[in-house]
């Protein structure tokens, strides 16, 4: 089960560039498509994105979760830091607050913190109680603007 002493812990800040080709790849994946010709061109064609009113190629609404996986040893980095058992881990809730836009080429810093750790259910009911960990992440761009907040809830079965 997650190490309760990690409540309040702040992960190191990690920085990455939002790569243009990765945005199209992500849009193809969530569209369950085979090729980028099948997706909305705003995700790969800057002209199309500008015509649609964006300042650059935007990221799909759930793209920010990938910042957790591409920095700081990815999922295993988070699992190890919190003492979570990977074989029991389930993602139970995700929430985004969009405060600005993220475009291809932006340099993003993620600042993640453990904000809640608690047990849900009763220990005497086998299989019914779970350990819950809530992470909050601020996503900040190269101009220091807070562009999004992400709240991720994980549980261990």
């Amino acid at each position: 089960m997650a190490d309760r002493s990690k409540l309040g812990m702040e992960f190191p800040a990690y920085t990455m560039t939002v790569e243009e080709s990765k945005i199209a790849e992500f849009a193809v994946a969530v569209g369950l498509k085979d090729d980028k010709a099948q997706i909305d061109p705003i995700y790969y064609d800057e002209e199309a994105a500008k015509k649609a009113g964006y300042q650059g190629i935007p990221v799909p609404p759930t793209f920010m979760t990938s910042f957790f996986f591409w920095t700081g040893e990815g999922l295993m980095g988070i699992v190890k830091a919190l003492g979570i058992d990977l074989s029991k881990l389930l993602h139970s809730e995700e929430e985004y607050e969009y405060l600005g836009n993220i475009y291809a080429g932006d340099i993003i810093t993620r600042k993640m913190k453990v904000v809640e750790m608690f047990e849900r259910g009763k220990r005497d009911r086998i299989g019914r109680f779970v350990d819950v960990t809530v992470l909050e992440t601020e996503i900040i761009n190269q101009r220091g603007e807070l562009v999004a907040k992400v709240r991720s809830t994980m549980m261990e079965r």
Binding site: K22, E25, F26, V28, A29, V30, G31, L32, D40, A52, G53, Y54, P58, P60, P61, T62, T65, S66, F68, F69, W70, G74, L75, L86, S87, K88, L89, L90, H91, S92, E93, E94, E95, Y96, E97, Y98, N101
Partner: protein, 149 residues
């Protein structure tokens, strides 16, 4: 034409969106795109080790499909927040038994506008959303908030 605040009223539904049947290939593609390489989503030997029957889709893939459903209705720059609670696991379709497994792997997103209000000088709507498979099992429930012109 972009949807405007005056176009919608409380109780209206958003256009229903139905995905293709999710296959293991889609899971691998999503793993590579997102960086989420939890073996739960692709490695049958890990699945056996933890006593499950089948690999399951990333909850975030189902949320990503839900995001597609939303942005096929409104421009994504209008989104202000997006929440999903994951309710059940999704097993991909088996290519050697599509007849019996397509239903569990085909996701339909529906949504209903529950609130219209002004905040931060914007006209906003709150819309509850739910994703279900073709057998009726709920995969996620949540909401999004959007600012409309």
């Amino acid at each position: 034409m972009a949807i405007t605040y005056d176009d919608v009223k409380i109780g209206d539904t958003i256009p229903t969106y139905t995905s293709a049947p999710i296959t293991r290939t889609h899971l691998v593609r999503y793993a590579g795109a997102s960086g989420d390489f939890n073996p739960l989503h692709h490695d049958e030997s890990f699945i056996k080790m933890i006593g499950m029957d089948n690999v399951i889709a990333h909850g975030m893939l189902i949320m990503g499909i839900t995001g597609e459903a939303i942005t096929s209705w409104i421009d994504q720059r209008n989104l202000r927040s997006f929440n999903a609670r994951f309710l059940s696991m999704t097993e991909p379709a088996d290519l050697n038994d599509m007849e019996h497994t397509t239903g569990r792997a085909t996701i339909t997103i529906s949504g209903k506008i529950v609130k219209k209000y002004e905040e931060n000088g914007e006209k906003r709507i709150k819309c509850d959303i739910v994703a279900k498979d073709a057998l009726g099992s709920r995969k996620l429930a949540g909401f999004f908030i959007a600012a409309l012109p």
